[in-house]
Symmetry: C2
Subunit: 113 residues, 2 copies
Protein backbone atom coordinates (compact mmCIF):
# COMPACT_ATOMS: atom_id res chain seq x y z
CA UNK A 1 0.00 0.00 0.00
CA UNK A 2 1.08 3.56 -0.58
CA UNK A 3 2.81 4.95 2.45
CA UNK A 4 4.04 8.22 1.08
CA UNK A 5 1.62 10.54 2.81
CA UNK A 6 1.90 9.06 6.29
CA UNK A 7 2.94 11.95 8.52
CA UNK A 8 6.07 10.78 10.30
CA UNK A 9 8.21 12.59 12.87
CA UNK A 10 11.43 13.80 11.35
CA UNK A 11 10.13 13.67 7.82
CA UNK A 12 8.69 16.64 5.93
CA UNK A 13 5.04 17.24 6.71
CA UNK A 14 2.59 20.03 6.12
CA UNK A 15 3.89 22.86 8.25
CA UNK A 16 7.39 21.60 8.91
CA UNK A 17 10.10 20.56 6.52
CA UNK A 18 11.98 18.98 9.40
CA UNK A 19 8.98 17.09 10.74
CA UNK A 20 8.49 18.72 14.13
CA UNK A 21 6.21 16.53 16.23
CA UNK A 22 3.45 19.09 16.69
CA UNK A 23 3.24 19.67 12.96
CA UNK A 24 3.25 15.94 12.32
CA UNK A 25 0.28 15.62 14.66
CA UNK A 26 -1.47 18.57 13.02
CA UNK A 27 -0.94 16.96 9.64
CA UNK A 28 -2.27 13.65 10.92
CA UNK A 29 -5.26 15.04 12.80
CA UNK A 30 -5.89 17.73 10.24
CA UNK A 31 -7.37 15.26 7.81
CA UNK A 32 -11.02 14.57 7.37
CA UNK A 33 -12.60 12.49 10.13
CA UNK A 34 -9.35 11.81 12.01
CA UNK A 35 -10.31 13.58 15.22
CA UNK A 36 -13.87 12.30 14.96
CA UNK A 37 -12.65 8.72 14.83
CA UNK A 38 -10.58 9.19 17.97
CA UNK A 39 -13.50 10.93 19.62
CA UNK A 40 -15.87 8.04 18.93
CA UNK A 41 -13.42 5.33 19.88
CA UNK A 42 -13.31 6.74 23.38
CA UNK A 43 -16.69 5.10 23.87
CA UNK A 44 -15.08 1.71 23.49
CA UNK A 45 -14.00 -0.63 20.72
CA UNK A 46 -15.89 -0.42 17.45
CA UNK A 47 -16.10 -2.57 14.40
CA UNK A 48 -15.49 -1.05 11.00
CA UNK A 49 -19.19 -0.90 10.23
CA UNK A 50 -20.10 0.57 13.58
CA UNK A 51 -17.46 3.24 13.21
CA UNK A 52 -18.97 3.97 9.86
CA UNK A 53 -22.32 4.58 11.54
CA UNK A 54 -20.89 6.73 14.30
CA UNK A 55 -19.11 8.90 11.79
CA UNK A 56 -22.16 9.90 9.86
CA UNK A 57 -21.61 9.76 6.11
CA UNK A 58 -18.00 8.69 6.09
CA UNK A 59 -17.13 6.64 3.03
CA UNK A 60 -15.48 3.26 3.55
CA UNK A 61 -12.58 4.40 1.42
CA UNK A 62 -11.79 7.33 3.66
CA UNK A 63 -12.45 5.41 6.86
CA UNK A 64 -10.06 2.72 5.80
CA UNK A 65 -7.39 5.24 4.90
CA UNK A 66 -7.71 7.05 8.23
CA UNK A 67 -7.67 3.75 10.12
CA UNK A 68 -4.43 2.76 8.48
CA UNK A 69 -2.83 6.13 9.17
CA UNK A 70 -3.89 6.21 12.80
CA UNK A 71 -2.80 2.62 13.23
CA UNK A 72 0.65 3.33 11.83
CA UNK A 73 0.83 6.30 14.15
CA UNK A 74 0.00 3.94 17.01
CA UNK A 75 -2.99 5.92 18.12
CA UNK A 76 -5.44 3.13 17.43
CA UNK A 77 -5.13 -0.61 17.10
CA UNK A 78 -7.29 -3.56 16.20
CA UNK A 79 -8.34 -6.05 18.82
CA UNK A 80 -10.73 -8.96 18.85
CA UNK A 81 -13.44 -6.51 19.88
CA UNK A 82 -12.74 -4.16 17.03
CA UNK A 83 -10.74 -0.98 16.60
CA UNK A 84 -9.74 0.69 19.82
CA UNK A 85 -7.54 3.46 21.17
CA UNK A 86 -3.99 2.60 22.16
CA UNK A 87 -2.49 4.10 25.30
CA UNK A 88 -1.14 6.94 23.19
CA UNK A 89 -4.51 7.36 21.58
CA UNK A 90 -6.23 7.51 24.93
CA UNK A 91 -3.78 10.14 26.14
CA UNK A 92 -4.48 12.14 23.03
CA UNK A 93 -8.20 11.81 23.58
CA UNK A 94 -7.85 13.13 27.08
CA UNK A 95 -6.05 16.17 25.71
CA UNK A 96 -8.72 16.97 23.16
CA UNK A 97 -11.62 16.04 25.42
CA UNK A 98 -11.97 19.57 26.87
CA UNK A 99 -12.72 20.77 23.35
CA UNK A 100 -16.20 19.30 23.76
CA UNK A 101 -17.26 21.68 26.47
CA UNK A 102 -15.41 24.59 24.94
CA UNK A 103 -17.06 23.97 21.57
CA UNK A 104 -20.52 24.13 23.10
CA UNK A 105 -19.75 27.49 24.63
CA UNK A 106 -18.17 28.69 21.43
CA UNK A 107 -21.24 27.64 19.48
CA UNK A 108 -23.46 29.55 21.89
CA UNK A 109 -21.55 32.76 21.32
CA UNK A 110 -21.44 32.04 17.63
CA UNK A 111 -25.20 32.23 17.51
CA UNK A 112 -25.39 35.31 19.70
CA UNK A 113 -23.89 37.52 17.06
Amino acid sequence: MDNSSQPTPGKPVRGSKTGQPIMVIFDLLGRSWAMGIIWHLNNGPSTFRRLQEYCENISPTTLNTRIKELTKAKLITRTVDGYTLTDHGLELFKLIHPLGKWARNWAKNYKDT
Copy 2:
Protein backbone atom coordinates in the same frame (compact mmCIF):
# COMPACT_ATOMS: atom_id res chain seq x y z
CA MET B 1 -17.41 34.59 -2.01
CA ASP B 2 -18.52 31.02 -1.60
CA ASN B 3 -19.73 30.38 1.88
CA SER B 4 -21.16 26.91 1.49
CA SER B 5 -18.45 24.94 3.20
CA GLN B 6 -18.10 27.10 6.29
CA PRO B 7 -18.67 24.75 9.20
CA THR B 8 -21.45 26.31 11.24
CA PRO B 9 -23.05 25.11 14.47
CA GLY B 10 -26.48 23.68 13.84
CA LYS B 11 -25.83 23.04 10.18
CA PRO B 12 -24.69 19.72 8.70
CA VAL B 13 -20.96 19.23 8.93
CA ARG B 14 -18.58 16.35 8.49
CA GLY B 15 -19.43 14.02 11.33
CA SER B 16 -22.77 15.44 12.35
CA LYS B 17 -25.90 16.02 10.34
CA THR B 18 -27.25 18.20 13.12
CA GLY B 19 -24.11 20.27 13.49
CA GLN B 20 -22.97 19.36 16.99
CA PRO B 21 -20.38 21.91 18.15
CA ILE B 22 -17.54 19.44 18.61
CA MET B 23 -18.00 18.10 15.09
CA VAL B 24 -18.20 21.63 13.72
CA ILE B 25 -14.86 22.36 15.37
CA PHE B 26 -13.39 19.12 14.08
CA ASP B 27 -14.55 20.00 10.60
CA LEU B 28 -13.07 23.48 10.90
CA LEU B 29 -9.76 22.44 12.45
CA GLY B 30 -9.55 19.27 10.41
CA ARG B 31 -8.58 21.17 7.32
CA SER B 32 -5.08 21.68 6.10
CA TRP B 33 -3.08 24.26 8.04
CA ALA B 34 -5.95 25.36 10.29
CA MET B 35 -4.38 24.26 13.57
CA GLY B 36 -0.97 25.39 12.40
CA ILE B 37 -2.24 28.90 11.77
CA ILE B 38 -3.70 29.13 15.25
CA TRP B 39 -0.49 27.71 16.66
CA HIS B 40 1.66 30.34 14.96
CA LEU B 41 -0.64 33.24 15.78
CA ASN B 42 -0.08 32.59 19.45
CA ASN B 43 3.30 34.24 18.96
CA GLY B 44 1.57 37.49 18.19
CA PRO B 45 -0.04 39.24 15.23
CA SER B 46 1.22 38.33 11.79
CA THR B 47 0.84 39.81 8.38
CA PHE B 48 -0.34 37.63 5.54
CA ARG B 49 3.16 37.22 4.15
CA ARG B 50 4.68 36.49 7.50
CA LEU B 51 2.10 33.79 8.18
CA GLN B 52 2.99 32.38 4.81
CA GLU B 53 6.60 32.08 5.96
CA TYR B 54 5.72 30.57 9.32
CA CYS B 55 3.56 27.96 7.68
CA GLU B 56 6.21 26.52 5.48
CA ASN B 57 5.00 25.90 1.95
CA ILE B 58 1.41 27.00 2.36
CA SER B 59 -0.04 28.40 -0.83
CA PRO B 60 -1.63 31.84 -0.71
CA THR B 61 -4.85 30.33 -1.99
CA THR B 62 -5.16 27.96 0.91
CA LEU B 63 -3.96 30.49 3.46
CA ASN B 64 -6.55 32.95 2.32
CA THR B 65 -9.30 30.34 2.46
CA ARG B 66 -8.33 29.27 5.98
CA ILE B 67 -8.09 32.88 7.14
CA LYS B 68 -11.60 33.56 5.93
CA GLU B 69 -12.99 30.45 7.58
CA LEU B 70 -11.28 31.10 10.89
CA THR B 71 -12.34 34.72 10.76
CA LYS B 72 -15.97 33.81 10.20
CA ALA B 73 -15.67 31.37 13.07
CA LYS B 74 -14.39 34.26 15.18
CA LEU B 75 -11.20 32.49 16.12
CA ILE B 76 -8.98 35.05 14.43
CA THR B 77 -9.42 38.63 13.38
CA ARG B 78 -7.51 41.29 11.52
CA THR B 79 -6.06 44.26 13.33
CA VAL B 80 -3.78 47.05 12.30
CA ASP B 81 -0.85 44.83 13.32
CA GLY B 82 -2.00 41.92 11.21
CA TYR B 83 -3.99 38.79 11.81
CA THR B 84 -4.37 37.84 15.43
CA LEU B 85 -6.23 35.44 17.70
CA THR B 86 -9.55 36.55 19.14
CA ASP B 87 -10.43 35.76 22.73
CA HIS B 88 -12.08 32.56 21.53
CA GLY B 89 -9.04 31.76 19.46
CA LEU B 90 -6.74 32.28 22.40
CA GLU B 91 -8.89 29.99 24.54
CA LEU B 92 -8.71 27.39 21.83
CA PHE B 93 -4.97 27.75 21.60
CA LYS B 94 -4.66 27.19 25.32
CA LEU B 95 -6.61 23.97 24.95
CA ILE B 96 -4.43 22.61 22.17
CA HIS B 97 -1.20 23.94 23.63
CA PRO B 98 -0.51 20.75 25.67
CA LEU B 99 -0.39 18.86 22.40
CA GLY B 100 3.06 20.30 21.86
CA LYS B 101 4.65 18.53 24.76
CA TRP B 102 2.60 15.41 24.23
CA ALA B 103 3.59 15.25 20.56
CA ARG B 104 7.27 15.36 21.42
CA ASN B 105 6.86 12.41 23.73
CA TRP B 106 4.74 10.60 21.18
CA ALA B 107 7.39 11.17 18.53
CA LYS B 108 10.05 9.77 20.83
CA ASN B 109 8.14 6.53 21.29
CA TYR B 110 7.35 6.47 17.61
CA LYS B 111 11.01 6.17 16.84
CA ASP B 112 11.67 3.62 19.56
CA THR B 113 9.76 0.90 17.76
